[in-house]
Symmetry: C2
Subunit: 306 residues, 2 copies
């Protein structure tokens, strides 16, 4: 009863394997054995470091999928638009959303202006599938005929219609919009904090994903207003600052590496997830889903001494 009952409940638990049984490497072992070339650093112009109530949240933008929104978010971030804004909505098993509280309420002080960012952007719901360097998953999920990973993003695609899009998996970030499909600017963003609401796919512009610090958005008190909005200003969770890594001195940039989803190591991790990651598992569906896979990050290896 003691330690066992409580601890062994995770896909990532590493159990000792006998030599003869060592045919199922754990994710930790796969990562340990991976070549350095399977990892990449963060693109400083494409990565936002956001301080949410004291916790660092790191978000990679998706310029391949939403170039205009990514550019707008870069501009907004550079000009300090997000500094002092707040998480204003947390709906359980759905989204955390942040932006300018005054944007939603005429009784408050006027909303921040978007500065030199575009006030009007086109909807960027999908891109062409043809030629997309996708690492296919091979496992059908019912929402789209093709799924896989591109640039670290979970991607679904419909080759017949020649379109591909980022799927609304846990941690994915989108740009809130109104009734008009082209009413998002990137000034109001949301992250998925529950089971993937794939019905949002192709209905809204996805702009990136959180690669670190999700708990600062997922563990927040749920809003009690309609759709999870906080009802009182004192409930707002402050976004103290957001900066592109390129705005920060190099020494202050988070030293993280991200596994390349086009790498062999990634394929091994997918296979491990598909087959069960340890001997704790007595059954395996032999199947996984883009939204069941998390792209690993790790501290950047120190440069070799000269």
């Amino acid at each position: 009863m003691r330690r066992l009952t409580l601890t062994l409940l995770t896909p990532f638990v590493a159990l000792p394997l006998c030599a003869a049984e060592a045919k199922r490497p754990t994710p930790a072992e796969i990562i340990k054995q991976s070549p350095a070339s399977d990892w990449r650093g963060l693109d400083p112009d494409n990565t936002v470091l956001m301080n949410v109530n004291g916790t660092d949240v790191i978000m990679e933008l998706a310029p391949r999928f939403a170039p205009r929104h990514a550019a707008n978010i870069r501009t907004l971030t550079r000009e300090g638009y997000f500094d002092g804004l707040a998480v204003i909505r947390v709906q359980d098993n759905f989204v955390s959303q942040w932006g300018d509280p005054a944007d939603d309420d005429d009784t408050k002080s006027p909303a921040k202006t978007l500065g030199s960012a575009d006030k009007k952007l086109p909807a960027e719901f999908s891109i062409a599938y043809k030629g997309l360097p996708i690492s296919k998953l091979g496992d059908a999920d019912g929402f789209a005929p093709v799924s896989g990973f591109v640039d670290g993003f979970p991607v679904a695609a419909d080759p017949k219609r020649n379109r591909a899009w980022i799927a609304h998996c846990y941690g994915v970030v989108g740009a809130g919009r109104g009734n008009e499909v082209d009413s998002s600017t990137g000034a109001s963003l949301y992250a998925i904090i529950g089971h993937a609401p794939r019905t949002l796919d192709l209905n809204i512009t996805v702009v990136g994903r959180v690669i670190k610090g999700m708990e600062a958005l997922s563990a927040l008190p749920r809003g009690t207003g309609a759709m999870g909005f906080y009802e009182k200003p004192e409930q707002y969770v402050p976004i103290r600052q957001a900066r592109l890594l390129s705005q920060l001195p190099e020494a202050e940039r988070p030293a993280l590496e991200v596994l390349r989803t086009e790498s062999k190591t990634w394929q091994q991790l997918v296979e491990a997830r598909r087959r069960g990651t340890s001997d704790w598992y007595v059954y395996s569906a032999g199947h996984t889903n883009i939204c069941n896979m998390t792209v690993p990050t790790r501290p950047k290896a120190a440069p070799a001494m000269p």
Copy 2:
């Protein structure tokens, strides 16, 4: 920019429809029009009311799927086993787990005994599919050939192997186990708080689901220890009390109704989710998944005056 950008981001938003367009009823409309016979009350012997740090969490047990575990949890609850225990683990996008902190740590005071509950139970990972009154979903999800709902639970099934099991969707509750498949007793439980980790299916005994109060488990600070365990006792989230509804005076029992998943109303809600629940949606995959559906609850209608 104002209200629009921030508010319209939910499958449940109700937009005004012109009369001619009123062909897509919203979930709220479907529920409003549902006959009373499509709803059921809570079975007092089968429902646990748990106080997690001051918030009520209501859990329905799954005796059809795990009769021995459900009986054991009933016994443990009746005898006050869970009173004063704690949530000891919260792993982001995976599980919150509760039980006896001393059960995991020999340095602490001895673990609580299980009283008259069974100390050893069989694994209850699946039941026979033949004859199961399942409301099929019809949408394939890749993890199992058949999926649908039974008694309000999301269920996957493999008719060829004549087995069915509760799927690890958001809010589903299972019994932690060690290496041995028959090492769970129901004394240590976990709830899914993120994207459905369907790889757990058929690997562990599922005992029920949370029908109200999930935020008391999902919005907790994430544990910083391995696998999300809290590292310090002061981080434990207290479970003040757990009671079967049948232990409470009738007036103190939560007056809730649950939509029957064998009802026509439920089928309409599934269809609404599959097609998009409002005109905000410009695209629909025409597909849903058992883990994208939440079974509605509502306050019990007051009895008619005599």
